[in-house]
Symmetry: C2
């Protein structure tokens, strides 16, 4: 019989996954589990639950508290309270963590409490642990990856089945890979929260989530997918953080053309993949399940188990000042519906190559600030924006885009 008790706030997908892991290893006794909905049917008897989070927060017999609820605002309130009480907390809430990192770090320092959140970033992939512990004393140059399983599942369906975005989204929702309101996932916000958390551990830089360039995949059409096929590429929603030549940290979430020489090309369906580039270790690639009850429950358990042995984040690279947004340019493909013109963006250079009554397609280079200035308009007009890596010139891009369909034997 275990002598230490754990508190679980939330019994959704992740909470149930953690519960299963805890049942197997018998290292901790589960206190009553806090849930909100009094009428939902659950696989445990009613006596296993409480509806009062304070019952757990004020239970001095708990050695650890796990926060696995979906509401970010409520999650933040609970994490705050627990950290102020000196507790050890494990959270899976990426939004609450990403948007409040400076405060959450300060609370840990002030109250000697601890917060771990591996499960908030890429489910089962031990990316934060690797950055925090293994690369603590090695400079990182870049981290990028596919950090959102729902949107990657949808993009994979579009790529392999030629169905529409709407059909693919519906499929993902039916299979539980996307929420009823998919905005956080397909709009790129979820990946944005994750890359901001990664940036803090990889580069020691706290990034203001509101200042990060972010486009989602909602406006993708089969026309864009066909273009990717012609290019020999796939479109992936890529989140990245890297140093520019001017040593500014450039953080962004953008649909991106990815070729087979890039590991991310092979990250399909609901999987996540992360590429790291460290100064001496060189390129590393990690791939695993980014979501799911047991994979994410396992990540929570890895934090719980490490915390019980004294592990805590030390933020070894943390810089005192937040980062100024990078001032870089981007090479983009843009497709806009043809019955109205693309907003008056000032391009550094631009070529349109697919003007019809259906759509306008162009490829060009634009300053980041300029793109941000027009973001709301572009999004409201269902314009699809994809980054074209600089290794491919605009002219090469267009040549490939305009080539005849290959004859398949």
């Amino acid at each position: 019989m275990p002598t230490n008790k754990i508190g679980i706030l939330g019994f959704g997908c992740v909470g149930q996954g953690l519960y299963d892991v805890l049942q197997e290893n018998h290292q901790l006794e589960v206190a009553r589990i806090c849930v909100r909905d009094k009428n939902k049917e659950r696989k445990l008897p009613a006596s296993a639950f409480t509806f009062d989070a304070q019952e757990l927060l004020q239970d001095e017999s708990l050695v650890i508290l796990t926060e696995l609820i979906s509401d970010p605002a409520e999650a933040l309130t609970l994490i705050r309270q627990a950290l102020e009480a000196g507790k050890t907390v494990v959270s899976a809430n990426k939004k609450a963590v990403a948007e409040n990192l400076p405060e959450l770090i300060a609370l840990q320092q002030k109250y000697g409490s601890r917060l771990l959140y591996e499960a908030a970033v890429c489910g089962s992939i031990p990316i934060l642990r690797t950055l925090e512990s293994y690369y603590a004393d090695e400079p990182m140059q870049e981290v990028n990856g596919i950090l959102n399983g729902s949107s990657n599942y949808i993009l994979t369906r579009l790529d392999t089945e030629g169905i529409s975005y709407k059909e693919a989204l519906q499929q993902a929702q039916e299979l539980g890979f996307a929420e009823a309101d998919p905005t956080l996932d397909v709009g790129g916000y979820d990946a944005l929260h994750k890359i901001c958390i990664i940036a803090a551990h990889a580069f020691g830089v706290v990034v203001d989530v509101r200042e990060v360039l972010r486009f989602g995949i909602e406006s993708i059409t089969t026309e864009d997918v066909d273009l990717a096929h012609k290019l020999g590429a796939r479109i992936k929603l890529v989140a990245s953080a890297k140093y520019t030549a001017a040593q500014q940290l450039q953080v962004q979430v953008l649909p991106t053309f990815v070729w087979p020489d890039n590991e991310l090309y092979y990250v399909q369906n609901e999987f996540n993949g992360v590429q790291l580039e460290a100064k001496y270790a060189g390129k590393q690639f990690l791939k695993g399940r980014g979501a799911g009850s047991h994979p994410t429950g396992s990540a929570v358990w890895a934090d719980v188990s490490a915390a019980l042995k004294g592990y805590k984040y030390t933020y070894p690279k943390l810089k005192p000042a937040p980062a100024a947004p990078a001032t870089n340019t981007l090479q983009l493909y843009i497709r806009s519906k043809g019955d109205f013109p693309i907003p008056d963006i000032k391009w550094e250079e631009v070529v349109s190559f697919g003007v019809s009554h259906e759509a306008v397609q162009l490829v060009g280079v634009v300053k980041k600030e300029e793109l941000l200035r027009h973001q709301a308009t572009l999004e409201s007009r269902s314009t699809f924006v994809v980054e074209v890596p600089e290794a491919l010139s605009a002219m090469e891009f267009i040549q490939k885009a305009l080539q005849q369909e290959r004859v398949v034997a």
Copy 2:
């Protein structure tokens, strides 16, 4: 000016890589570096070196000692002496560690000393740290991968350029990807040492390296590579450790047919890749540089840096008794020169499909003990042995192997 001193035994590829990393981060002062050859030209002045390992081993001012020499027997002697003196040692010597793990663990416990050896396994990939710390409390089901960069470089050249094994080996040697005596690499011994170390951390099982099934790639011909192309596969040297249905740990190193649905298919050139399967986290994949001065120097530095903060291996899953060898069967493709018969192996089932005066090709299922019994004969006769995953039946294999060459447009 750093106040702590580090000792470096050996100034080859890895030692020089570590030295570069240390020069950048200024956290440790390097004591005199111990080398053997008095006449070799080196990039540092003569005063930086000593030829007497005892000068470092008996220097009480060193906080850490790194053992980066190539001779496994001498490495073992030095590691032993350092551990008996209560020191903290970081080694990159896979052979010395793999063959003496029980003794090295016992020495650490007896003398309160510490030994870390991440750099011994897959260069820059943080596989041991991940298994030791992150998956400390989660059962593992399988670990497999491409753990030897030299042989993978050769196999990639064979696959992509259609050159002979001899030519590819020579190329690898010229580029520094293979040693003058390549036996450890191409014979599968290096991968064997690595998978045995992995097995101790992943499953807590100490495996006797002499009892592990191991075949190398020395006898591969373009005929085998052509066959792989017909099958839509690649031949990779795969090391694996997994639980059989009978809950025995099956450890082996074998050339293996690998298809595009397997991550290892895309691990090319000198790269290493490792797949893990954990009970709840599911499948994980890690890829990075398996060798090279800076990548391996970075892995040594990651150990040094962690050791300075108090990190040590705890071998959380270590079982008291060594593992009995698993009694499994294998589905194999075998190609033997045709001018003499394949030794009298008792097959569970077997079909030959390519009998000519050049070679005999067959596919069949055999008990592991039976294969081991004939290993020396098979190797002496330059027979090439490749595992055929059970997902493909022998009949499907032969059908594909006998199909007409596809006409390439």
